[in-house]
């Protein structure tokens, strides 16, 4: 494949999937982000070098800083994996956002029933409940697609709105609003339901280990199992898979449920590991950021973990950056978007290379 050349040069498609071109794309994206981010910091009235240094220090400068980075990365690993699993099958599940809420809501509801029991019982039971909640909410969009041919992009976005506002309703006037409280939040969960901390004194909790475990499991599922085989086949040529007799409707339901279960774990991990209570607002955005994470991570578990760590570090480091240099920490969300755009552009650009034409006399 080549474009007819002008001025003696031509663009030639590189063989896809090369590790070298991927590395080149990351390097280019990092340089571009540094440049544009630096200009943004400059515009915010800070010296770019100082701002980046504060950002790095805030993210990795101490054990506490590292712990906080991992805490911020944990839900993003879950939602990144959830999105990637569906995207690998070309199911555009934009609903991780709502499935996070579904997981947290079901886990909280169950925690009210199990309060007082042993943590050895409560924690696994509540994690399972969260997975079920996310799975059901994901499968609902799958069901709409299979039975009613509703495009999953539309249905998942709509379901996101429904559950986000539904939770607000529960917490504002509903039975779950904290007695005598003024905030849109529930009472604290039973201490026996909390996810154990990994290191005393630091906030990083069991959810992070679970997220890494899930990354490994998802990798195995996609690459090594018959189900993963069908997911990858569906992502490349659904018709050929259907011609071989695979049950496509069932596959869609299963993938949406698994994707929802992973997102549900993000909800449980935040509820039981960090917030200890349901609070509208604290769960917002993990699902949508998960889409960015999945794409940055090339829909592969290792890439997703790395991308989530990067985003966790950015969000976490931003606080110190604001304190030390006065750059508003909200700028970090602009920086996240720049990372993604720079990466996508670099990825497209490194897919081609310039070659000089041999010329006729």
């Amino acid at each position: 494949m080549s474009w007819p050349g002008h001025f003696g040069w031509t663009l030639v498609r590189r063989p896809a999937g090369g590790l070298a071109s991927l590395a080149a794309a990351f390097t280019l994206a990092a340089l571009a982000t540094g440049l544009i981010g630096g200009l943004l910091f400059l515009a915010a009235g800070a010296a770019p070098a100082q701002a980046f240094a504060a950002l790095a220090k805030g993210a990795f400068g101490s054990w506490r800083a590292v712990s906080e980075t991992l805490v911020k990365a944990t839900p993003l690993i879950f939602t990144g994996l959830a999105t990637a699993l569906a995207f690998r099958a070309r199911l555009w599940n934009i609903g991780a956002e709502g499935q996070v809420f579904a997981g947290a809501i079901v886990a909280y509801g169950c925690s009210l029933q199990l309060a007082g029991l042993s943590p050895w019982l409560q924690v696994p039971a509540l994690l399972t409940a969260a997975m079920l909640g996310g799975a059901l909410y994901g499968a609902l969009a799958g069901l709409l697609k299979v039975l009613g041919r509703v495009d999953e992009v539309i249905s998942t976005v709509m379901l996101n709105y429904i559950i986000v506002f539904g939770l607000s309703l529960l917490l504002l006037h509903g039975p779950w609003s904290e007695a005598g409280g003024f905030f849109e939040q529930s009472a604290k969960i039973d201490p026996g339901a909390a996810l154990p901390k990994l290191v005393t004194g630091l906030r990083v909790h069991l959810g992070f280990v679970l997220a890494l475990l899930m990354a490994v499991l998802v990798g195995f599922l996609i690459e090594r199992t018959p189900l993963g085989f069908e997911i990858r086949a569906a992502g490349s040529n659904l018709r050929a898979l259907a011609f071989q007799g695979a049950r496509i409707g069932r596959l869609i339901l299963v993938v949406m449920a698994l994707s929802g279960a992973l997102a549900g774990l993000a909800g449980a991990s935040e509820l039981l590991g960090v917030q200890q209570r349901l609070k509208a607002g604290t769960l917002v955005g993990y699902g949508y950021t998960g889409i960015i994470i999945a794409i940055l991570g090339q829909l592969r578990p290792l890439g997703i973990v790395l991308a989530a760590l990067l985003f966790g570090a950015l969000v976490n480091g931003a606080t110190l950056m604001q304190i030390q240099t006065g750059v508003p920490s909200a700028l970090i969300y602009a920086l996240q978007a720049i990372v993604l755009l720079a990466f996508l552009i670099a990825r497209a650009a490194t897919g081609w290379r310039l070659r000089r034409l041999a010329h006729a006399g």
């Binding site: 018959p226 085989f229 050929a240 011609f243 071989q244 007799g245 695979a246 070659r355 041999a358």
Partner: protein, 505 residues
């Protein structure tokens, strides 16, 4: 075509490289006025590259081109058109929403004013000259593929072409349309001195030309007067070796029916009838050829038998078991393989390796699955065996199917489906778009399976193929079986007439 004629087109020592690849290596050929000159070669022989150079789409690295003795430089299609070269591409380049006349006029504007009336008169005259009944005011989207091709040809002539390059012109045409195309281009050449360069790999068409130039792997093998060479000689020049022409021997012994269709009809949701009371029996060790112009229900018939569509009435039996209403996986498990019509769309996963494509459909079955996991060593081992057995040109089981040539990709489909077809094999256009070498391979594979007792339903656009392979031939028109005859009891012309919807003579 006396020797004294100045060639309409003279190409000398043309060379075109793409990176390492020598697509055209020192090619010289000439086309005389009034001559039909065939350019023959397998896929990748350099035919398309050469024609693209002649139409100014590529710039050659070396060599020269003369038209009517004058050297010309072809920098763009505009230069080619100005020099009197017209080209009809294999995939037409028409604006679907424009009428035929508008399409003919696109890009011909000289000055600001569009004199439709004068243009219409000129185009009408051209159509009348060659007895073409072209509806000039209908949008091209509503025209058949054959009519669209005439729009392309008339456009080239209207632009003043004195050399017409036709790239695989009959690939999309029915036999009747192809015959008409040949009648008319013969007249264009004989009566009006048009020079025609015809790119094709169909031997029947080559034999109707005046001279033929054969390319192989980018190199000129030779030019010959068609009357002085045999088909076999040409094939040898094209492929570089002798080809056995697979032919089925008459059957012997009693045959058990393996596939039986009784009054099978198929309507879609809009009430359109795709199959109309189709009934036939197919016996073990028999090849039943399905002849028909594309779109007359053949693909629907294959997909209905394979369980991909549910018949609205009638019944289908495979080795005595009723299978209509079963799902495709269940039917395949009874020993049925299906080579679909469009291998890229229906048969292969492009981002999968050869090994994974061979596994497709059997991913849950032992020994390919062990517990929760795929048994990758076994899958790879089987793939290596298949690659060797079918002579797939690839680096190994992990090679991506997306990178394979059409012939090698088809071998992968064939290997997978033959493995499943212990009883019945459905083959819908298994040789379309393949090189003669691969076609020979596919055909002898089908005959081997037939000898092993497989019942084969074979649809092909190439009637020659059906006649050399099939025991019986079934003609389909409009979803109905209009004839079902033993091969020795019929001939090409009769089947061609039946396909066109005319009663047998």
């Amino acid at each position: 075509m006396a020797g004294a004629l100045v060639p309409r087109l003279a190409v000398s020592h043309l060379t075109k490289r793409f990176g390492q690849l020598l697509a055209n290596d020192d090619i010289s050929l000439s086309v005389l006025p009034g001559e039909i000159h065939c350019l023959l070669g397998e896929n990748g022989a350099g035919k398309s590259t050469l024609s693209s150079c002649l139409f100014g789409l590529y710039r050659p690295d070396a060599g020269s081109v003369r038209v009517d003795g004058r050297p010309i430089e072809l920098r763009s299609p505009a230069d080619a058109i100005a020099a009197g070269i017209g080209m009809v591409h294999q995939h037409f380049v028409l604006v679907p929403a424009f009428t035929a006349l508008e399409n003919i006029l696109v890009g011909t504007g000289r000055g600001w004013r569009l004199d439709l009336a004068a243009a219409r008169r000129a185009v009408r005259a051209l159509c009348a000259r060659y007895d073409l009944a072209l509806e000039l005011d209908r949008p091209v989207a509503e025209l058949s593929l054959g009519e669209q091709q005439w729009v392309e040809i008339v456009k080239a002539l209207y632009l003043g072409a004195r050399l017409l390059i036709l790239d695989e012109p009959t690939a999309l045409l029915t036999p009747v349309e192809s015959a008409k195309l040949f009648r008319v281009i013969m007249r264009m050449a004989r009566e009006d001195g048009l020079a025609i360069l015809l790119i094709t790999h169909k031997m029947a068409e080559v034999m109707r030309s005046d001279r033929v130039t054969v390319l192989r792997k980018g190199r000129l093998i030779g030019t010959a007067a068609t009357a002085e060479v045999s088909r076999d000689q040409l094939v040898r020049m094209m492929v570089g070796r002798d080809l056995a022409s697979p032919r089925s021997e008459p059957r012997t012994g009693p045959a058990t029916p393996l596939l039986r269709l009784a009054e099978v009809s198929l309507r879609d949701a809009d009430g359109r009838r795709h199959l109309d009371a189709v009934s036939f029996e197919l016996a073990a060790g028999e090849i039943l050829g399905v002849a028909g112009v594309a779109g007359n229900g053949q693909t629907e018939l294959f997909e209905t038998i394979a369980g991909l569509r549910r018949p609205s009435s009638g019944s289908i039996y495979l080795a005595g078991t009723r299978i209509d209403g079963e799902d495709p996986a269940g039917i395949a498990a009874l020993g049925l393989g299906h080579v679909p019509n469009d291998r890229a769309r229906d048969g292969l996963v492009p981002d999968f390796s050869i090994a994974e494509n061979l596994l497709l459909g059997q991913q849950w079955q032992p020994p390919w699955r062990r517990g929760w996991l795929l048994n990758r060593p076994a899958i790879r081992q089987r793939a290596a065996t298949c690659i060797a057995e079918f002579a797939v040109a690839a680096s190994g089981p992990e090679a991506l199917v997306r990178r394979l040539s059409g012939g090698n990709a088809q071998k992968v489909v064939l290997a997978r489906e033959l493995a499943k077809a212990s009883r019945v094999l459905l083959c819908n256009q298994p040789t379309r778009g393949l090189d003669v070498g691969v076609i020979e391979h596919v055909q002898s594979e089908l005959l081997r399976r037939r000898a092993a007792g497989c019942a084969i339903l074979l649809a092909s656009e190439e009637l020659d193929d059906l006649f050399s392979l099939a025991d019986r031939i079934m003609v389909m028109v409009g979803g109905r079986v209009v004839a079902l005859v033993d091969r020795p009891a019929t001939d090409l012309a009769t089947v061609g007439r039946l396909m066109a919807g005319q009663a047998a003579a």
